[in-house]
């Protein structure tokens, strides 16, 4: 039963806990979509190899809305980075503006997705295609909403004066999760909307 007494360490420079945690959470979220899209591509390959068309008759997925959403989300990458850059310079006005714009563009993406669902005329019970497409796009909306909540929370903390030029991990962490969400959409755009 020995008691150990160790020498004191120098002051700790803590790495960015919230940023690392968000990166892990983003990786886990990303893997959900890897799983979903993997199943989607396997199912699509099976249907096509049997000589049938992937989408049921009467169902068409227009490309205009997915393209618009993709461009919108790419814009949010810039607005998010704008927010990170602004807060790191203690430029609060620009940070609030960038965060607000990001949230607005996020809402626009949700609206556009629901409009696309309406245009597709695809019944969820129509078969494997409906289940897969609605699950993947719906799950992405869930991830987008989570990312928006994260950004909104960090915006409120910024408004409360919690972030400084030296310590703005919250905004950076929200940006990490946001970028992962946009990367997921890029996968969806290619595998569902472009290749159909």
């Amino acid at each position: 039963m020995t008691a150990h007494v160790l020498p004191p360490a120098p002051p700790v420079q803590r790495p960015r806990v919230l940023v690392v945690g968000s990166a892990f959470a983003a990786a886990a979220s990303f893997m959900v979509f890897i799983g979903l899209i993997g199943v989607y591509l396997a199912a699509r390959a099976d249907v096509i190899s049997s000589g049938s068309a992937w989408l049921p008759k009467g169902v068409a997925i227009p490309l205009q809305q997915p393209n618009t959403m993709f461009i919108t989300l790419i814009m949010t990458v810039f607005t998010m980075q704008w927010a990170v850059s602004a807060i790191s310079k203690n430029d609060r006005v620009n940070a609030y503006l960038a965060l607000g714009l990001t949230l607005m563009l996020g809402i626009a993406t949700i609206v556009m997705t629901t409009y696309l669902w309406h245009l597709m005329k695809l019944d969820v019970a129509a078969g494997i295609q409906g289940v897969l497409i609605y699950t993947i796009t719906g799950a992405h909306i869930v991830m987008l909403v989570l990312a928006m909540l994260f950004v909104a929370l960090m915006a409120l903390r910024a408004l409360g004066g919690q972030f400084t030029a030296r310590q703005h991990d919250g905004i950076t962490a929200a940006a990490v999760y946001w970028y992962a969400m946009v990367a997921v959409y890029a996968l969806i755009w290619i595998s569902i909307y472009v290749t159909k």
Partner: protein, 520 residues
């Protein structure tokens, strides 16, 4: 309810006030203290473990003889529920609980990262576990008749996975960001490193299981249940987590526990430590099995990658065994129960991985029936349970502040080893029945042996709880900071049980065994 945690960013200020040994309900509710959260995970997982192994025993008993006491549907659901339950309700939370308690201590942190999230994860896991059990009882197992019960099962499984992932993120973030100065990644204790590897594999694969569940639920609830939600195919889509190679992912933290226990209780530094770290990493890489889904990829078992993974995983295991054997040779083994349980875990792991290597050899035709695969899963899960028991026996004095009753642990060595071997090996032998027709006559006998094995593992889970609680009895000798007297890693430098804030001044680390350096 006030949160009693310390923010990870804040400096540590260990006070003399030690928490109570086993957290009282009042402490647990609303507490973000990693010690209370970890202890509660461990206790709940062991209770579920006991029930889970009984369910596995009943599922095997159901197919003995001609007249069963369960309907075929109930028996099948029980088998499936026990498989999933033993992983998500027992093994993963058991390791996560130990990690939530021990990893901050091993890396010299004052608390776990995101303590409130860790507490929320534990409560979500517990609530989801309760819902999963209730839903399973009301015909909500995979392929169940009651649609709402099945939905409830799927929802609870989703909650379980999200909770376990959240808890894993907290532990991983602690290991990555809250290490004390000087503790580079190659200097972290073996258990912390194995949690880093295992947790990362969980983080990459459990979300895929969540994706499977989402598809099943959407089809079951809204799509008419003709494809993913079809009763006959539901379990097939999630069964990959209980099969090779994914089953190995749930054993990884156990490898680290075994290495830490052996190093301390032999009093020897682990030789070629970096090689052992690489071996644990390789074991992790070879256990990624989310791609080997029988429903999505029916020919996976003919895939060369799957077969190669099953064989190659033997190599890192051999490396680890070499390291452990060298510690036994170089040190003076102390015949304490954690060491015995660690050895039992090693033996079961060897059997399980060897069985896995046989399983991938197609000419042996061991995949014709599910007996061999089920037997292999029992061997691996019992190895993980034995490693968890070794960890609790080893860190129990740290958790309770008093020495545990070693007799209970020594009895448990026999119970766990016997349970794992009887439960798993009997089914593996039965898997050879397609090649050796003489074994067909022993069908019922081998199943009875397997049932006895599973029952022993249920008893073993209870014995671990008893052993831990023995540390709370009045009159038990106090443990002191370094309960074994040969501690090598930082957790043995803080008082037992650790006070709020864990450490006073953060320690400078100059090697993987900072306490040995201090003595030298």
């Amino acid at each position: 309810m006030a949160l009693t945690d310390t923010r990870p960013e804040s400096g540590t200020d260990a006070t003399a006030v030690a928490p109570s040994v086993v957290p009282s309900p009042l402490t647990i509710f609303g507490s973000g203290d990693h010690k209370a959260v970890g202890t509660f995970y461990v206790l709940a997982a062991l209770v579920f473990g006991s029930a889970g192994w009984i369910a596995a025993a009943l599922a095997s008993a159901h197919i003995i003889g001609s007249g069963s006491f369960l309907t075929d549907t109930t028996g099948t659901q029980l088998l499936q529920t026990s498989k999933i339950g033993l992983i998500l309700l027992v093994i993963v939370p058991l390791f996560l609980g130990i990690a939530t308690y021990i990893v901050p201590l091993q890396v010299g942190a004052s608390t776990v990262a995101f303590p409130r999230a860790a507490a929320a994860a534990m409560w979500t896991w517990l609530l989801s576990s309760g819902v999963f059990i209730v839903a399973s009882f009301i015909d909500g197992g995979f392929g169940g008749v009651r649609a709402k019960s099945v939905s409830l099962t799927l929802f609870s499984l989703g909650g379980l996975i999200v909770a376990l992932l959240l808890g894993t993120v907290c532990v991983l973030t602690t290991a990555v960001t809250l290490r004390t100065p000087g503790m580079t990644l190659d200097r972290v204790p073996m258990f912390t490193f194995s949690m880093l590897v295992g947790g990362s594999i969980w983080l990459l694969t459990l979300p895929v299981l969540l994706a499977n569940l989402l598809l099943i639920w959407v089809d079951h609830r809204y799509g008419g249940g003709t494809v993913f939600g079809a009763a006959s195919s539901q379990f097939g889509q999630v069964s990959w987590i209980a099969h090779e190679p994914q089953i190995y992912a749930f054993l990884i933290p156990g490898l680290g526990i075994v290495a830490d226990v052996v190093a301390t209780l032999t009093g020897a530094r682990l030789g070629q430590r970096n090689l052992l770290l690489v071996a644990i990493g390789a074991f992790g890489v070879l256990s990624v099995g989310a791609w080997a889904q029988p429903v999505m990829y029916p020919a996976f078992s003919e895939d060369l990658v799957w077969q190669a993974m099953g064989l190659l995983v033997l190599l890192p295991l051999l490396l680890l065994l070499g390291g452990v054997a060298a510690a036994f040779k170089d040190g003076k083994p102390s015949l304490k129960s954690p060491l015995g349980l660690a050895v039992a875990s090693i033996l079961l792991t060897i059997l399980g991985v060897l069985a896995g290597a046989l399983l991938v050899i197609s000419p042996l035709e061991l995949r014709t029936t599910s007996f061999f695969a089920n037997g292999q899963a029992i061997l691996i899960l019992s190895a993980a349970l034995a490693a968890g028991a070794a960890g609790i026996g080893y860190w129990g004095p740290k958790m309770t502040g008093r020495q545990l009753a070693d007799g209970i642990g020594k009895l448990n060595v026999l119970v766990m080893l016997g349970g794992g071997v009887l439960g798993g090996a009997a089914l593996c032998v039965l898997g050879f029945a397609t090649r050796f027709t003489g074994l067909s006559g022993a069908h019922d006998t081998l199943l009875v042996v397997s049932v006895i094995g599973s029952a022993l593992l249920a008893l073993g889970s209870l014995l671990v709880i008893l052993a831990l609680l023995s540390g709370t009895r009045k009159g038990a000798p106090e443990a002191g900071a370094d309960a074994w007297g040969t501690g090598q890693t930082l957790e043995w430098a803080c008082p037992s049980p650790p006070p709020t804030g864990n450490f006073g001044d953060l320690a400078v680390v100059r090697s993987p065994e900072p306490l040995l350096d201090e003595e030298a």
